[in-house]
Symmetry: C2
């Protein structure tokens, strides 16, 4: 099995698998400037909350490199602008803001260094973000694996795999660890309209891993859940509020309602970097609305009539009460989440 790397840094450039082209074409997108990283995040060359966080960290490193020849004051000014731009590239994924904040803190703490030294330190920090994410993925996978039966049919939504992270994945990382530990799995992958990350990316990753999988339209899941054909549902998150409400790819909330109605375990798998301790509930979470063409066109081909209005929110919020557990690298959080979150926060 070849290892999937959503991004890698190579001497002054960030090489990303161009996820817009998968699975039909496996080509790289190379960013040499922070603005190219900003574009890559916006246009979903790279997506998935943890992957976006790592990309943004490297974006700051590319900016630092870009401005290395300026004097300190201009360097700092330009760097600050890069931080601002990257921070705004997508609104919902909290890892993005987390990564930018981490880089800003590092810069502030080391502002007495010379430009070149500071630039080197920033790159070092971006590498750290990546290495940490890999370890976090393994830890989440191991914790999550404890809730997977020896023979299990798992339902997934969107893509939460290697492509969404810089490691083995969040929810799909749990699937990988269960598979590696010898469990007998069948994965139903929701295609995840409108961007079809399940149909494109999760299907591709599962095929590469040799994990038995079936692709379904999003609305097929409800019948499978009712008919007892799903043992556990694993989803990722783009932002988890302090009370356990979780923003994730549109369609997650719907699954959670059906899971709750029919008593099927529903787990959110997300690193602690995805938790926004400051937001008290899902109501505080900004939901990104994306272009109408994501709905009216597929593969650049229009299928809906000209002139039809579209409502296209990228995410929805699943209330904590619908979530069986939140799998983090520190263990599995259970209700009451506000207490569990507060306890977790004290350990970070």
């Amino acid at each position: 099995m070849e290892k999937i790397l959503s991004l890698k840094y190579e001497e002054g450039q960030l090489v990303m698998i161009d996820q817009r082209k998968l699975p039909l074409q496996e080509v790289d997108f190379v960013a040499r400037t922070y603005r190219e990283v900003d574009f890559a995040i916006k246009d979903m060359v790279i997506r998935g909350a943890p992957a976006i966080g790592a990309a943004a960290a490297y974006g700051v490193a590319l900016a630092a490199r870009e401005f290395e020849d300026l004097d300190k004051e201009d360097f700092m000014k330009n760097l600050e602008e890069a931080l601002e731009v990257l921070n705004r590239s997508r609104p919902t994924a909290v890892n993005l803001m987390w990564a930018v904040k981490r880089m800003r803190k590092l810069i502030n703490e080391n502002q007495n260094l010379e430009v070149k030294a500071l630039s080197a330190l920033i790159l070092e920090e971006a590498h750290k973000v990546t290495v940490e994410d890999q370890a976090i993925n393994i830890a989440m996978g191991d914790h999550g694996n404890t809730v997977i039966p020896q023979k299990a049919t798992i339902l997934t939504h969107c893509n939460t795999g290697a492509l969404a992270t810089v490691g083995i994945g969040t929810a799909l990382g749990v699937v990988r660890q269960a598979h590696y530990s010898g469990k007998d799995l069948l994965v139903y992958a929701d295609e995840t309209r409108p961007r079809l990350q399940g149909g494109r990316l999760t299907a591709w990753e599962l095929l590469k891993e040799g994990i038995p999988a079936r692709l379904i339209a999003d609305s097929v899941a409800a019948t499978l859940i009712r008919d007892g054909k799903i043992d556990v549902i694993l989803v990722g998150a783009d932002r988890v509020a302090g009370n356990g409400d979780a923003a994730n790819k549109i369609g997650t909330f719907m699954l959670s309602v059906v899971a709750k109605a029919y008593g099927v375990p529903f787990y959110v798998v997300a690193p602690t970097t995805t938790i926004d301790f400051e937001s008290r509930s899902g109501e505080d979470i900004v939901i990104e609305e994306r272009e109408a063409t994501e709905v009216t066109h597929i593969e650049g081909v229009r299928f809906a009539p000209e002139g039809i209005e579209v409502y296209n929110p990228a995410f929805d919020v699943t209330p904590a009460e619908n979530i069986t557990g939140i799998v983090t690298e520190k263990g599995i959080l259970k209700a009451p989440y506000t207490e569990a979150m507060a306890a977790l926060r004290r350990t970070l």
Copy 2:
């Protein structure tokens, strides 16, 4: 507003709007033989339970015309084969079987007639099926309109309009009658993967009618329902069992679960011809599975990786307990459905 006619009979040929090509191309598909009608139903040139029923009735008429020059015995033999073929063209829509049964009954009752006279009678009966469906649509629309508020946001699934019938539609017929009666409507139309009948056909019909509409991915509906943005949900049915369980386009069941969880009225709009009084519950309903390419490809363009397995059921079954009411041309049935159905049956 030009009137949309899903099919019309013209001297030896059945002219259908080719729904595979809508909304980008408005072209006709012309069937001159019953086998072409069978193909049109199978390949979804025409779809929607009532429209399929009418098409099948005309298919029998085309067969009769085709075999008019044979002697009586061969005519009857070939006609019987046509009835068999048309009856099997799709497995779930009960109107198809209903229409074939009606034509067979007519043939049996008039088997003493000469070939030409019998053929003329068959065509007459197909016209009757069409005219009746138009009247039934209006009656359903009027009954359904009684549950629509003066200012209402309505959620629809799949296409249940003029294209799915030979009149104004079933669920979309209710929307039309509400609109014609001066109500202030906004319709959220589910795109309805995998075949996108909502995105292609319902969006097209609503634009033609000038009814304010927004297209959404199927999984967006859940959040709209929870957030109180939907006043009423109207869906069609392909087969209603004797206890009120309703088979309809995949995704209907999911909506019903969310509607029930959040107390939003959920109506099935279906003519009595869609009721299969013989099947005691949804478990008796055969669910058609369709080709993997409906999921892996859109507009003939592949987006999912080669080799991925697909599960593609065309319908799901919504249990009677999730249904607020079943709008028929005879009025609105309410729980307990078994009693309501039995009472209805006695009037037919």
